[in-house]
């Protein structure tokens, strides 16, 4: 059971941040879909609805997603379809159902750094930055490594490149939480391999990506080796959905498939 005593709907980010930091139990309200499943007492929920953060904008060099854009907006946005083989719409498409994706937001999904997040995994494989009101702009991997601190995530910025990307996830059923998520991308010889739901937050397999730097085509041998390195270099854990051993084995399989898919892109 969760209790929310007050709602503040500030007109400026400055006020939003002030209210957020006024009291320990004050919290930014995102889509709020997970609130009912936890039990917490929030003194004041800071609602960002009046700050104009519900947008997805395509600029010359990037696509910006405002914190209050929903995952359904991500799924149906034409610009996001066009770039990176539509990896972002594809990644969010299995998250429960349309009604749920109409509720949950970009900002809360990223800021919460959920281990099971399909969205974060896909973003990690791209050239992604986040903008925090207090913390400023930083790359997503850097944000993922930071200590948890109160702040307001205002937008997620994905730089437009010719990256080819692929997404793979393993679930027991179509709309269930994932057991493992994998996103791979390539910009010429620059590869990124992100693995999430391990079950902790998504991380890049840096050594595995280095194995793919060949200056030319990647053979199936190289793909297999890189997948093996990814499975070895990342830590895996056990939860109700799967054991660490199972995840490690599946990581090898999904990474291999995702690399092969990207390698086949023209």
């Amino acid at each position: 059971m969760f209790i929310l005593n007050n709602v503040a709907q500030p007109d400026t980010l400055h006020d939003a941040y002030r209210i957020l930091t006024e009291k320990k139990s004050n919290t930014v309200l995102g889509g709020c879909a997970y609130l009912r499943m936890g039990s917490q007492i929030i003194h004041t929920g800071v609602d960002l609805s009046k700050l104009g953060l519900h947008y997805i904008k395509e600029a010359d060099d990037c696509i910006e997603m405002g914190a209050m854009a929903t995952l359904r907006d991500v799924e149906t946005n034409p610009a996001l379809f066009k770039y990176f083989n539509g990896v972002l719409p594809k990644a969010v498409g299995s998250i429960i159902g349309v009604q749920f994706r109409n509720v949950v937001t970009v900002g809360a999904s990223v800021f919460s750094r959920y281990g099971f997040s399909d969205f974060i995994t896909a973003l990690m494989a791209l050239d992604t930055e986040v903008e925090l009101y207090h913390g400023g702009r930083m790359t997503l991997p850097r944000f993922m490594d930071r200590r948890r601190a109160k702040d307001i995530l205002t937008k997620v910025i994905v730089h437009k490149t010719n990256r080819q990307a692929a997404y793979q996830a393993l679930r027991n059923s179509k709309s269930d939480y994932p057991i493992l998520t994998v996103a791979v991308s390539r910009l010429e010889d620059d590869w990124k391999i992100a693995v999430g739901a391990r079950p902790t937050r998504a991380r890049l397999a840096v050594q595995a990506a280095k194995r793919l730097v060949t200056g030319g085509t990647v053979t199936s041998d190289v793909i297999g080796q890189a997948a093996q390195i990814a499975a070895e270099e990342l830590p895996f854990g056990t939860n109700m959905r799967g054991s660490a051993e199972y995840r490690r084995a599946m990581c090898h399989v999904l990474v291999k498939r995702a690399i092969a898919e990207v390698a086949a892109c023209k």
């Binding site: 969760f2 609130l35 159902g97 009604q99 109409n102």
Partner: protein, 150 residues
């Protein structure tokens, strides 16, 4: 706190608590078609439209509906009855508890997608659970209703 909402074309002013969820607020208004099923945001039974978009009312705080339009099945009676006949004809309706949420999603899909494939339909309707019938009868009913295949 006070919110102004248009529910099924009728403007109303409601007093809600900050942590009230829309499902409860609507049921208090006598809109009993809005069902609470799983209570964990994954069954789709509580689906209503918020500004025309299918939304889980069990996971939406009521104050977020301020200034918006809310549509429940009571507000789209004619369309719902029409689709219900297709459901009944396919034997796809048993206890009926999930029907209002399911029908609201089908009608939203009709507005949003044109000429959907089986895969498009299944994708859109994923997240609407039915314990009685399985889903083949429902898919047949939806396809006949949309006029996309037999």
């Amino acid at each position: 706190m006070q919110i102004k909402v248009i529910i099924n074309n009728r403007p109303v002013t409601l007093d809600v608590k900050p942590d009230d969820f829309l499902v409860d607020t609507l049921r208090k208004q006598g809109l009993y078609s809005v069902r609470r099923g799983c209570d964990t945001a994954c069954c789709g039974l509580c689906t209503v439209w918020l500004d025309g978009r299918p939304t889980l009312s069990c996971s939406t705080l009521s104050f977020r509906a301020h200034g918006k339009t809310v549509t429940t099945i009571e507000g789209v009676r004619t369309e719902a009855e029409e689709f219900a006949r297709f459901m009944a004809a396919e034997g796809a309706d048993q206890c009926g508890y999930c029907s209002p949420g399911f029908i609201m999603t089908v009608l939203a899909m009709k507005n949003e997608l044109s000429n959907p494939t089986d895969a498009d339909i299944n994708h859109y309707l994923t997240g609407n659970l039915c314990r009685c019938t399985g889903y083949q009868g429902q898919l047949r009913a939806v396809k006949k209703y949309l006029g996309v295949g037999s």
